[in-house]
Symmetry: C2
Subunit: 457 residues, 2 copies
């Protein structure tokens, strides 16, 4: 089909929307390593996990064999409220770059949570409700996940308790206010509402908090209240499963117009967006049907794939969560105050880690100032002010498009535009004022952090 | 067509999008009164207006005969970047209200300006560029218009100078930052950069500013610089013309599914959104083809239609703009610190004023706290956090739907959801904390303000 016929935005019809999630683990010959009990170092049983997570989500977490899992009808209905998300042909950006590359992005920001996080939040809230729970607890960094979960819980009339990393809580009062508008209870972390929070505060009274620490608090809170479970917005395999709706929609839209991407790019913090976007394409690659180049983009300040080690590690600072084998900087890694709060996590999805380790996916790291430069360039021609996290993918997409300009290759690039930056204007202000700095951890700093890894036989 | 077949969101295909704007004045037997020169009280000539506005926009402002005006191809292309906007069936809200009414809303918030304002901003920037100008000046209250214009100017590489009402400048630093990201120059108004600003500051050093004052400064700045013109985001007939794209798209989408609205509702500040939404439907009513009930919703704190007088008045505080016959509270009216900054204007579009005066449109006023209550209710079921301005329409749509519940009537309601509230969390915070108050001007206050009306023979 000729270029002329491809619209600026491709929206699927409701009857074209996916009715199943795709489970990429089913097509992986070598599966991700199992979660381990942090005390015994033995693989976690379903029973153990069910103390922390909803029963149905535990099943999904452990399911490595079913290629497709039905999306419950209630979730499909909710998806119709804000999905399908548009697959956008970046005609204006292509023109501005004067590149022969064809650039597409899947834009997940057109909902009030401002990001793709709602795709998994609604699923997790649904299963919690179905199990008859009173509510859920979680942590949030940049606030996108917390907002998404607040929206989902409000829809199902579930109590929602959010531990928000303290520096975000203070830097993003408006994000907090959105959560409150949806009825959530938001606590800055570390806090004195949990044992682990009090312990961290005693040791580091001036800490800005971290995702790992907020996770520990949320888990403790969930397991110490009747009728509550903990939910997580990234890293876990169940989250990648729910987020596969991004990739499924993208693939259906591209197939409809006879487009085959050569390169697929996504930012990677815990991996939820990247994993969701690439899953169905990766499935084709794993089954030997088609080939794609996948690129994970991470901040140079928190480079778990490009500079981390592949090892079992704690998912949280308080060391209460199961151990996961992943690319990690060590749970003791204290990320700098990078403005892409959603990418400041020491580890990475076990699924993506394994795919990366098998050489099926590449990874690059980019610096903050260059990311904001790309974000501003994109905003000015494509009319969307991107989230700092998403802008990592933009930066690399532009880099790839410029390579095409040099070589004259007409490659097709697809990237995930995970969200909008309306609650990140503090960061944009720093960039606008020339106050933004870049930070790259030294080898010594990383080595010190690797020393915090648990010893697993 | 049965209800079952109507999707949650109707998106037009690119080839279904309007290629012309609709000029409702062409179908009005009695036209709006002409703009008058503030010095001579004679109808403004094109030449006089061209000192302030772009030539082509003056033509549009004075054009009362052409029913349709072609949308230039460059603007059509830009529209494709963020339009069509979805026509949403509010299934979730209907269910929550348990009403037999069928509720639709046209959602204009899915672009970075966060509102419908971009529809006219891009048109005005285009004509400025075409005329070879260096840049444009404008004012902004809540900041939506300023943001939209910044985006449009950045796209056409035009200089953009924005006078932002001081209280918004201070309450909404992030909105200002978005404008800066798009390269605009933002000045709090009143300022010392203009004569009128200095005069107002000398008289009222502690003023929070007002739209009328910011307009005066922007007009002075435009007329005192070579290669600049002034542009305005509402009130003017040209703006209603550009905004007719909202109504045209709505009508095409509804016709496609065989839906006929009984009631069409929009919030009204200067009238750009309401005028744009209702125009093509009003055309049918004016031509005697179909009947509709139109409702303008304004804040009780700034009730120009429901409590104002229909008279010639100044459009700005500094009294430098042409006089317009409109429903007005008097240009000396000092609106209270209502959080719906976009609705805090003392006057109203001349077109809408005339239609209202002819009894073709109704108007209601609603109080702030009730508006935020409706906003929160809407956000929780429809997944969109609405702008305070838009929430005025939500409040009245809910009221109408509840009347249907009482009577059992299955009316079809269409309302304009003009934008998102992501930069209004300060206001939502006040609501969440129970700190929000309502204000209704007394008859005495209004009378005092009416006394500021100019005497026209």
């Amino acid at each position: 089909m000729s270029d002329k016929k491809i619209p600026y935005k491709i929206y699927l019809e409701e009857n074209e929307m996916p009715t199943q999630w795709y489970n990429v683990r089913a097509d992986m010959q070598k599966k991700p390593a199992p979660l381990l009990n942090p005390a015994t170092h033995q693989p976690c049983t379903a029973e153990e996990l069910e103390n922390v997570f909803c029963d149905e989500l535990v099943k999904q977490e452990l399911n490595e064999t079913d290629r497709y899992i039905d999306i419950p009808e209630e979730i499909q209905e909710f998806y119709k409220m804000y999905r399908p998300s548009p697959l956008v042909r970046a005609y204006c950006l292509e023109k501005k770059l004067d590149t022969p590359a064809k650039i597409y992005y899947k834009f997940e920001g057109n909902n009030t949570s401002g990001s793709h996080k709602l795709n998994s939040a609604i699923a997790q809230a649904y299963y919690a409700k179905k199990q008859g729970l009173k509510g859920v607890t979680t942590e949030t960094g940049a606030g996108q996940w917390g907002t998404a979960l607040s929206m989902a819980c409000s829809y199902f009339d579930l109590d929602c308790q959010v531990y928000m990393v303290k520096c975000s809580y203070e830097q993003k009062p408006f994000r907090r206010e959105v959560m409150r508008t949806y009825g959530a209870n938001v606590t800055p972390s570390p806090s004195d509402t949990t044992e682990v929070g009090r312990k961290i505060l005693a040791e580091f009274p001036d800490t800005n908090g971290s995702l790992g620490c907020a996770i520990s608090e949320a888990v403790e809170k969930a397991t110490s209240q009747d009728g509550y479970r903990y939910v997580l917005g990234s890293v876990l395999s169940q989250v990648l499963l729910h987020q596969s709706v991004i990739g499924m929609e993208s693939k259906i839209a591209m197939d409809k117009y006879g487009i085959k991407p050569d390169i697929i790019i996504g930012c990677a913090g815990g991996g939820s967006n990247l994993g969701g976007l690439i899953s169905p394409f990766m499935g084709e690659k794993l089954r030997g049907e088609k080939d794609y180049k996948f690129i994970a983009v991470e901040p140079a300040s928190c480079p778990s794939l490009t500079r981390g080690v592949y090892a079992y590690d704690f998912c949280d600072t308080g060391k209460v969560c199961p151990l996961q084998k992943m690319y990690t900087l060590g749970s003791g890694f204290m990320p700098s105050a990078n403005h892409a709060g959603g990418l400041r996590y020491h580890g990475m999805s076990a699924v993506l880690s394994e795919l990366y380790d098998q050489g099926l996916m590449e990874a690059v790291s980019v610096e903050q100032t260059a990311v904001f430069e790309a974000a501003q360039q994109f905003a000015r021609v494509e009319g969307i002010l991107p989230a700092p996290e998403s802008s990592h993918a933009i930066k690399t997409a532009i880099d790839e498009a410029m390579k095409c300009k040099e070589t004259g290759e007409e490659k097709t690039i697809l990237f995930g535009l995970t969200g909008t930056g309306y609650f990140d204007m503090y960061a944009y202000g720093a960039y606008n004022d020339g106050r933004m700095s870049d930070y790259i951890p030294t080898d010594e700093e990383l080595q010190k952090s690797f020393d915090t890894l648990p010893k697993i036989d």
